[in-house]
């Protein structure tokens, strides 16, 4: 095997290992959120393309999980892991390293949501001047998301982000991501 071929094999193996660890992070998040009454609401964790016309999407750009609660139907908490997410059309600020982002959408009293919940987990990097330092920001989804994502029915969204490699274990995940999320949700609309 040539050295170059070996590098490609190792690159794919490394990418797959990273995916496995992200999956474990998401499953662990599901477990902790479940203990607090928030049930995973979307079955898949990534979206990708199998078309030769969208080969860059053969590998996912991000992974996600969303949650719902019968008691708080107006809220949609989420967690996303952004691998190398980019949106050249919308000129979002490039992410310098993989990020974990979490937050929640507020759908108001009636709680009516969009038919498809997919891109919601990447909203943080569409907010101008976003940072990955754990600080919360609030935005109106229809104002920050590009029009190509369609009209969203949520009133507002709060989110934050951190470098994903800053999470070393479940304790970090809980302390730095899930606990702040649950605490912030406490202030949300019922």
């Amino acid at each position: 095997m040539s050295d170059q071929g070996k590098i490609i094999i190792e690159t794919f193996q490394q990418a797959r290992r990273f995916c496995e660890q992200v999956a474990l992070l998401i499953q662990t998040t599901n477990s902790v959120m479940d203990e607090h009454g928030w049930v995973s609401s979307v079955g898949s964790a990534v979206t990708h393309s199998s078309s030769t016309k969208s080969a860059d999407e053969w590998l996912p750009y991000f992974a996600y999980c969303y949650f719902e609660s019968k008691e708080r139907r107006g809220l949609l908490p989420f967690l996303g892991v952004l691998f190398d997410y980019d949106d050249e059309d919308s000129k979002v600020q490039m992410i310098p390293e993989p990020l974990v982002t979490a937050g929640w959408y507020d759908y108001g009293k009636d709680g009516k949501r969009e038919a498809y919940i997919l891109w919601h987990a990447v909203i943080h990097v569409y907010i101008p001047g976003w940072k990955a330092d754990g600080s919360w920001v609030e935005a109106k989804p229809n104002e920050v998301f590009p029009k190509k994502f369609g009209k969203l029915s949520s009133l507002r969204c709060r989110s934050f982000a951190l470098p994903v490699l800053s999470l070393k274990n479940t304790e970090d995940l809980t302390r730095l991501v899930i606990d702040p999320l649950l605490e912030d949700i406490g202030a949300g609309t019922d």
């Binding site: 170059q4 499953q27 274990n169 479940t170 970090d172 995940l173």
Partner: protein, 286 residues
């Protein structure tokens, strides 16, 4: 058994066996003080309603624990069953309260039996075990608990609900079905949280147990492995036609391997070979 697992001496089939996992884990816990690992682990159990075992009653640090591996139960009017473990918990004072905890352990497989409408007694594995356990507890004058121990990240609601339905169908509401859930992963997380100085006599034993759970991937999220640096690969795909070359030029920029200079060569050589082929004179004639 742990050494065999950690040194790769078990076959894949053996590694996947829940009995061996049960033996590895509870075989160690049996020789440790209950309040060190077993009771903190049991404190993680949850019911469908989110209820835990009462820590002040059952999980007292001075409780005595007897291990009964793979007991065979066949109570009157009940189907035969063999849970993986029965834990008998007793307060140290004679004549005080006792509990019996039946544990059905799973690793990669689900329940071994499901409801059978032809049966007059519960046939679902958990329902059958609860049926026997409740009867045994009544005779022994102790309180029963059934724990479904799995590799799941969350309570396997559908499986427990199906067991409840089978129990209610056959037993009515005279004895309510009760089943708690616990994950092997909770044990792994618990072991990670214990510092060596807390357990000076058991450091190696608990390290081996934690390593065994990690080998079987029975952990929650534990961080990311450090990526290795990638070298440049001078390989590029070159599009076969002019109009596609512009597309692939963009592809190269957006490549996930920005340092890989790979291009796929045009199909010219293939076409050239095709052109060199001799004309086939063969024709099918009626």
């Amino acid at each position: 058994m742990i050494a065999a697992l950690l040194h790769g001496k078990l076959s894949r089939k053996q590694e996947n066996m829940e009995d061996i996992l049960t033996s590895i884990v509870f075989g160690v816990l049996k020789h440790l003080p209950p309040d060190l690992i077993l009771l903190p682990w049991l404190s993680k159990v949850r019911s469908e309603d989110g209820l835990a075992l009462a820590p002040d009653e059952i999980l007292r640090p001075d409780v005595d624990v007897d291990y009964d591996f793979w007991p065979q139960w066949k109570e009157k009017d009940c189907g035969v069953c063999e849970p993986d473990l029965a834990l008998w918990l007793t307060w140290p004072q004679p004549g005080t309260q006792r509990w019996v905890i039946g544990i059905e352990a799973k690793y990669l497989s689900g329940k071994s039996s499901i409801a059978d409408n032809q049966q007059s007694h519960p046939n679902d594995q958990l329902a059958r075990e609860w049926d026997n356990l409740a009867s045994i507890a009544q005779k022994e004058n102790c309180e029963p608990f059934l724990i479904y121990l799995t590799a799941d990240f969350r309570l396997p609601t559908d499986e427990i609900r199906a067991s409840r339905e089978d129990f209610q169908r056959t037993r009515g509401s005279e004895r309510p079905f009760a089943c708690y859930w616990l994950s092997w992963r909770h044990l792994s997380a618990l072991l990670d949280s214990i510092h060596n100085e807390q357990v000076p006599s058991y450091v190696e034993l608990l390290k081996d147990l934690g390593d065994a759970l990690r080998k079987l991937e029975l952990t929650f999220f534990s961080g990311f492995s450090r990526p290795t640096s990638m070298s440049t690969v001078p390989w590029n795909f070159i599009a076969p036609a002019q109009h596609l070359e512009s597309l692939f030029a963009g592809f190269a920029k957006a490549s996930i391997f920005p340092s890989i200079d790979w291009r796929f060569r045009k199909l010219q050589s293939v076409y050239a070979n095709y052109q060199r082929l001799s004309k086939i004179e063969w024709r099918f004639t009626k």
